[in-house]
């Protein structure tokens, strides 16, 4: 891995300078937790480093809840997003597969992707429901982002992960590629510590492939049991970094509005005439798990669940998907 580093004060000054030509979003810890915030120069010092995930999934920067997709807007200022956990970096691969496919590339999505520099953050420590490692997603990025940032006692270390990231760093003279080996050793030690925490916290949780097998063979009663607390609010899909289903809505003048949708909402599969394969709540509930662990993996090479745990945190019925899979695993 190629590393560069810069003094924290220099990094903050660099960000201030970059604000002239970029819109910067970064993870910031406040009284409600950690989330992305639009950064103004006075906010630079508040940027949070090395902490696990912001509440909002990364997809929200590329797939707005609702947008008119009739015509392209004027060019937007390029964006930098700082502090992205690897569960979200890996979680963006599936939307990329879907929206950037060669035959039907979504212009709105692709423009935003081209226009955005992704600066990941290593997670030093975990949150209650983090389980990325169970699905072979590391708590730090080694690919798919442009850069990864680590803050070590006054020194900002950047791991270079893409050509775009390399070009970005090259333009900033204050960066040096002479990185103290001790700093790298500290980073590696933190990685190991976080991985140990994840392993301990998710002991017995089946891996991604096994989860798919368990989902496929699960009997109907488990879906009925766990869906009894589901109110079809769609929080789990809204907060999921890989759920990207939408509905096209017609407006006068043959305009189209693209609105995020969810298989958990009643009527998602209803056809004209009224037939609805997902009419029953437990079928809708099962659909999400089949999609994430069986169907999407069968179709795409990217993960449809990266173990961020947001769906568990967001559920107002307190449904914990990992409890379902532990129960299935233990009864197997």
């Amino acid at each position: 891995m190629q590393y560069n580093c810069i003094k924290k004060e220099e990094w903050d000054k660099t960000l201030e300078h970059l604000l002239l030509s970029y819109t910067i979003f970064a993870s910031v810890e406040n009284e409600f937790g950690i989330d992305y915030e639009l950064i103004r120069s006075e906010d630079i010092a508040k940027i949070t480093y090395n902490k696990p995930k912001p509440s909002t999934p990364l997809k929200s920067f590329f797939l707005p809840v609702k947008e008119n997709v009739s015509s392209m807007k004027a060019e937007e200022k390029p964006r930098i997003i700082i502090g992205i956990p690897n569960c979200d970096i890996e979680g963006l691969c599936l939307p990329d597969d879907i929206y950037l496919d060669k035959e039907f590339s979504d212009l709105f999505y692709s423009k935003r992707r081209e226009n955005t520099l992704l600066i990941a953050s290593d997670c030093f420590g975990i949150q209650e429901h983090c389980h990325c490692l169970s699905y072979n997603v590391k708590p730090y990025s080694e690919k798919h982002a442009d850069l990864a940032v680590i803050n070590l006692d006054g020194t900002i270390v950047l791991r270079i992960l893409s050509v775009k990231g390399e070009e970005f760093v090259r333009k900033i003279p204050a960066f040096t590629s002479q990185v103290d080996k001790n700093l790298i050793a500290v980073i590696e030690k933190e990685h190991l510590a976080t991985e140990t925490l994840l392993t301990k916290s998710n002991k017995g949780l089946p891996d991604y492939k096994k989860t798919g097998d368990l989902t496929t063979s699960a009997k109907g009663d488990i879906w009925e049991k766990y869906s009894a607390r589901c109110v079809s609010c769609g929080a789990c899909t809204t907060i999921c970094p890989t759920c990207t289903c939408f509905l096209l809505i017609d407006k006068p003048g043959f305009e189209k509005v693209k609105q995020m949708d969810a298989c958990q909402y009643p009527g998602f599969e209803r056809v004209a005439g009224g037939e609805d394969a997902l009419y029953e709540l437990h079928n809708r509930f099962r659909n999400r798990y089949m999609c994430k662990y069986v169907w999407k993996p069968g179709k795409f090479s990217s993960l449809a669940c990266t173990g961020c745990g947001r769906c568990i945190e967001a559920c107002i019925g307190k449904i914990n998907k990992n409890e379902i899979f532990m129960e299935l695993e233990n009864s197997h």
Binding site: G253, F268, A272, M290, V294
Partner: protein, 274 residues
């Protein structure tokens, strides 16, 4: 209106004629503003301005590119509005989308088509395509069932087909009226009447889900192999581009991977008859 790079943007098509096929079915004849062509079995997303959009397989010949016909049953929100449209207005078209019938692989074979209800619309387009390549086919047999004689669309089509070399067409109704002297029973009952060399044939099934299911079961009983049966699947489709997720049927996006599948491709999927 159309930005070629924008996959969500439709082209306009002027509605030039509306043909009443049955009390609840109309055929809309449109002239697209831009060049438009499709392969038989592919579908389009057809929109009523400001109201909504729905997927339909054109019922006209894929060889005719200057106009397009879509046959629509009044059965939901968008189609109710569609049925109120008069010639002269503009509709929106996106597409064509999906994988249609692989007619080249039918060369040298007998083609059995089992259709029901409004499924005859895409079948009519297929029949036009097959007529144009009939020299390369052994024969084509159409078995079609409708609820009642008045629900049967394209009535002149049957006489014309029966006068066409290599083509046979049979009709049945679930429930006869006093003027009906033909077969009574579901579409699959017509399969008892036909002579076909199953080994050298393919079967195409298109119709309501229940007919597709029992039609497939009957064809398998007759000796058709899984990869000889072509099914045109129906699902809720919003984008038609393999993105919106509404039409997922197991690991398939019906809009993108279908809508035409061989039974062999989808038979392991318990979701297909839902």
């Amino acid at each position: 209106m159309k930005d070629d790079r924008n996959i969500y943007s439709p082209i306009k098509a002027r509605l030039t004629d509306v043909i009443e096929e049955s009390p609840s079915i109309k055929t809309f004849v449109m002239v697209p503003e831009n060049k438009f062509s499709f392969k038989t079995g592919q579908f389009i997303e057809l929109s009523v301005d400001g109201i909504g959009e729905a997927p339909f397989t054109p019922s006209s010949s894929p060889l005719i590119t200057e106009k397009l016909e879509v046959t629509v049953m009044k059965t939901g929100y968008v189609t109710e509005y569609m049925h109120m449209l008069k010639p002269g207005v503009y509709m929106g078209i996106r597409g064509p989308y999906g994988r249609g019938y692989p007619v080249e692989s039918f060369f040298g074979k007998e083609v059995l088509i089992l259709g029901g209800g409004c499924g005859l619309a895409p079948i009519r387009s297929l029949l036009y395509a097959l007529e144009s390549i009939k020299d390369k086919l052994v024969k084509v047999i159409l078995c079609y069932g409708s609820k009642s004689p008045s629900d049967c669309i394209y009535k002149p089509l049957f006489d014309r087909l029966n006068r066409t070399e290599k083509f046979e067409a049979y009709r049945t109704v679930d429930k006869a009226d006093e003027d009906w002297d033909g077969s009574v029973g579901v579409a699959t009952t017509l399969l008892n009447k036909i002579k076909i060399n199953i080994e050298n044939s393919v079967a195409v099934v298109c119709g309501p889900p229940v007919m597709m299911k029992f039609g497939t079961i009957r064809l398998l009983e007759m000796g058709y192999k899984d990869d000889q049966i072509y099914l045109s699947m129906e699902k809720n489709m919003s984008c038609g581009l393999g993105k919106c997720g509404h039409c997922m049927m197991g690991e398939f996006f019906v809009c993108r991977d279908g809508p035409v599948f061989t039974y062999n491709e989808i038979k392991h999927n318990p979701e297909i008859w839902k």
